[in-house]
């Protein structure tokens, strides 16, 4: 309930933020994941670097054919922004299904990605829409493909001195669509994902020209289900084709059991939600 003591820094520029970062520091944007961990004393950084007062990080913009979501864009904004809806529906839906109203008012999309919770929604969405993570530090900017970003439970590819300052998502082209669906812990859509899947497709002439499928909640990290994506490419995207492809959803994942599902069940759900997400993505691709 009561965090341990720490030093608090609230820089107003990225440069000052980089200067404050060290081995025993932690970046905080909305604090929705970090503060509860600190309150339960499961995690106690020496320094909290609150990037919440750095100007210019709270926008969603278009840049050179990409959608750019800044580090301080909150879940609620990601969920309702028309640009995100038009170009990255899977991420918009995942953001809308993250936490509750209060959490969506404070927590940030980039923060959720950096936190890399295995049962979080937005990592799946980011993977499916082919996001690129933009990590900055005093020594420069590093771009990390979403597929390389999620390393393990609560572990991303970010170095302790780096800040995820934005993510970049290619704008949707003709025939492209994406979607996210999940089963929440209480059933339905509420709460963390027991299993969830995000899918992105490019339809061309009545067949699936390209696809990405990502899973969350199932394994030790959010990850791409390449076998399913490969299997669905070239098909007509019909329910039977999608179902057959989605049967391979958990092939590339180390499925882990938790209070909400056995390995067998989560393996099954991976296929169910890969199917549902793909069918919705195909529908969204129009």
């Amino acid at each position: 309930m009561y965090p341990r003591e720490f030093d608090y820094v609230a820089p107003t520029s990225l440069e000052d933020a980089f200067a404050a970062l060290g081995d025993d520091s932690k970046v905080m944007s909305g604090g929705m994941s970090l503060i509860p961990l600190m309150k339960m004393r499961l995690f106690s950084p020496g320094t909290v670097v609150d990037i919440g007062r750095i100007a210019g990080l709270d926008t969603i913009s278009e840049d050179n054919g990409n959608l750019v979501i800044g580090a301080l864009v909150r879940h609620g904004e990601t969920a309702t922004n028309p640009l995100v809806a038009a170009n990255a529906q899977a991420l918009a839906t995942a953001a809308a299904l993250t936490g509750d109203v209060q959490v969506r008012n404070r927590g940030t999309t980039c923060g959720a990605l950096a936190h890399a919770d295995v049962a979080a929604d937005q990592p799946g969405g980011a993977l499916a829409v082919g996001a690129t993570m933009v990590a900055q530090s005093a020594s420069g900017t590093r771009e990390i493909a979403a597929g390389d970003f999620f390393v393990d439970a609560l572990t991303s590819a970010l170095e302790p001195n780096e800040i995820l300052t934005s993510i970049r998502i290619p704008k949707a082209g003709p025939g492209e669509g994406s979607a996210y669906d999940k089963l929440g812990r209480r059933g339905g859509l509420s709460d963390y994902a027991v299993a969830g899947a995000a899918a992105w497709v490019r339809m061309d002439g009545g067949s699936v020209a390209d696809a990405r499928v990502a899973l969350t909640g199932v394994g030790t990290k959010a990850s791409l289900a390449d076998a399913t994506a490969q299997a669905v490419i070239g098909t007509d995207g019909s329910e039977s084709a999608v179902r057959a492809a989605a049967a391979k959803a958990a092939e590339d994942v180390t499925v882990i059991e938790d209070l909400y599902g056995s390995v067998e069940y989560k393996t099954h759900l991976a296929s169910v939600y890969a199917t549902r997400a793909l069918l919705k993505a195909i529908a969204n691709a129009g």
Binding site: P3, Y8, G31, P36, D100, Q102, V103, N105
Partner: protein, 162 residues
Amino acid sequence: MTVNGQEVSADVEARTLLVHYIRENLHLTGTHVGCETGYCGACTVHVDGAPVKSCTMLAVQAEGLELTTIEGLAQNGELHPVQEGFWERHGLQCGFCTPGMIMSAAALLADNDNPSEAEIRHGIEGNLCRCTGYHNIVRAVEYAGAKVRGEEPPAPDWEGAS
């Protein structure tokens, strides 16, 4: 920061949670603490008009921001329609979750004064109540929505209601 229209300031430890600052420094004890995982919503206040959980914010993060707590919701002694709705439709029993619940419901109606039952339930999913089963909370918000719209609220649904 500004709380309920009053400018306030204090030196606090960095680790002081906003809810403890509100309760123990400002003595506004209507904002409650029900958990430590940011789940129950009893600590919900408005920060710059949006409902947030004050147990999952550091007091220092609120520097310069504008807060409204349950104590600041009624204006000039007049209950907010949501407060009135909770009273009229038995939207509370023990009352502990109530301030946070009311703050969430008030924010919901500020965005949408005619929410469906599903939208009401979705809008308060971040506030746990263990007494009411939410049934009468939904009725209370429906009542308040009607008031905000200037309509006659739906009749109570208990047998023998007047």
